[in-house]
Amino acid sequence: MKFPSAEWFQALQGRAGANQERFKKLGFVDAAVGIKVQPDNGGAPAGFVLEFAGYGCKKVTTSAQPAEAADFVVEGKYSAWKEMIENIRANGEADLEHTLNVLTLPGVPFKLEAADQLKADLFFRYNQTLQEFFNCAADIETEFDTE
């Protein structure tokens, strides 16, 4: 499965959906999560919107401007996304240095963008669910571009 692509995020959605019991324990999520992958050498970014409702991700769409549809956007360079996914694949989950919070808190390598603070706070409000959602990447064979 190639990253970044809608198919890759749909595969993530499928893996998380197969583990409903775990996500039910974490509580419901009501948020549209934007993802932006910036090419390392410039060019147009790849954007996606993951719509969460109830106990999981209900819809994945491609979007050139994810900020328009999402409550918040997690944005980072391709190499940073690649490193995070490879780390999850290698460890079965994000290690201590590659959780979403660790990657976004200093503003690098990921940046959290939102129209207002209440929307930005949704990232913290559903953080464990989002982390476990991305941890499902451990089970996805991922192909990366050779840059």
Partner: protein
């Protein structure tokens, strides 16, 4: 109803962090007077909206950042998960408080007077932000942890300065969102004084 769920959340936080502190072998040590005084102002707030502002918007807004910092610094998976789950609870409380403040301001029949009273409260209470982040019991261990040891304390202080800026900015953003603009009048310095 919401406050019942919040009381349950806070009881869980108390339990999990108490157990974690005791598991470390060092015991619970001390609670700072400033922290206790701030908590007392919440309990003694003359109206619900004032207590809610102090607790949800100001206090829990700071704690939300502390939990984010805790997750960032945590040295094992269990601590990371503890902080993430507590962060979720805290963000819910902060959102409630922000929206409650917004509703209060938008629907108050004596809006100007209500705003004046809230500004008077905020002017005094928000000095808890610099009070918190100039306290050596808090910033020294934070800087050591963020610098990954005593030798890295200077690097750690850079990170503490970032925490200062973030806490202030997010607090002001939440006030602004509620229609309670503190940005032009706050006495909390934009940059850390160290």
């Amino acid at each position: 109803m919401f406050l019942c769920t919040q009381a349950m959340d806070e009881a869980r936080h108390l339990e999990v962090f108490r157990k974690r502190a005791l598991a470390n072998g060092g015991g619970l040590l001390r609670c700072l007077t400033g922290t206790e005084v701030f908590l007392r102002t919440i309990l003694h707030a003359p109206t619900y909206i004032q207590g809610s502002f102090l607790m949800h918007v100001l206090g829990e807004g700071l704690v939300l950042d502390i939990f984010r910092g805790g997750e960032f610094l945590a040295k094992n998976k269990t601590e990371k998960e503890m902080y993430r789950l507590c962060m979720q609870d805290e963000a819910r409380h902060v959102s409630y408080g922000t929206m409650h403040l917004k509703y209060f301001i938008e629907h108050n029949p004596n809006r100007e007077q209500a705003l004046a009273e809230m500004h008077a409260l905020a002017e005094a209470a928000e000095m808890g932000i610099p009070g918190f982040l100039t306290n050596p019991y808090i910033i020294e261990p934070l800087a050591v942890l963020m610098g990954n040891g005593v030798k890295g304390i200077d690097k750690g202080m850079d990170a503490v300065r970032l925490v200062w800026t973030r806490m202030r900015e997010e607090y002001l953003n939440r006030c602004e969102l509620a229609g309670f603009d503190r940005r032009a009048v706050t006495r909390v310095p934009e940059q850390a004084p160290y």
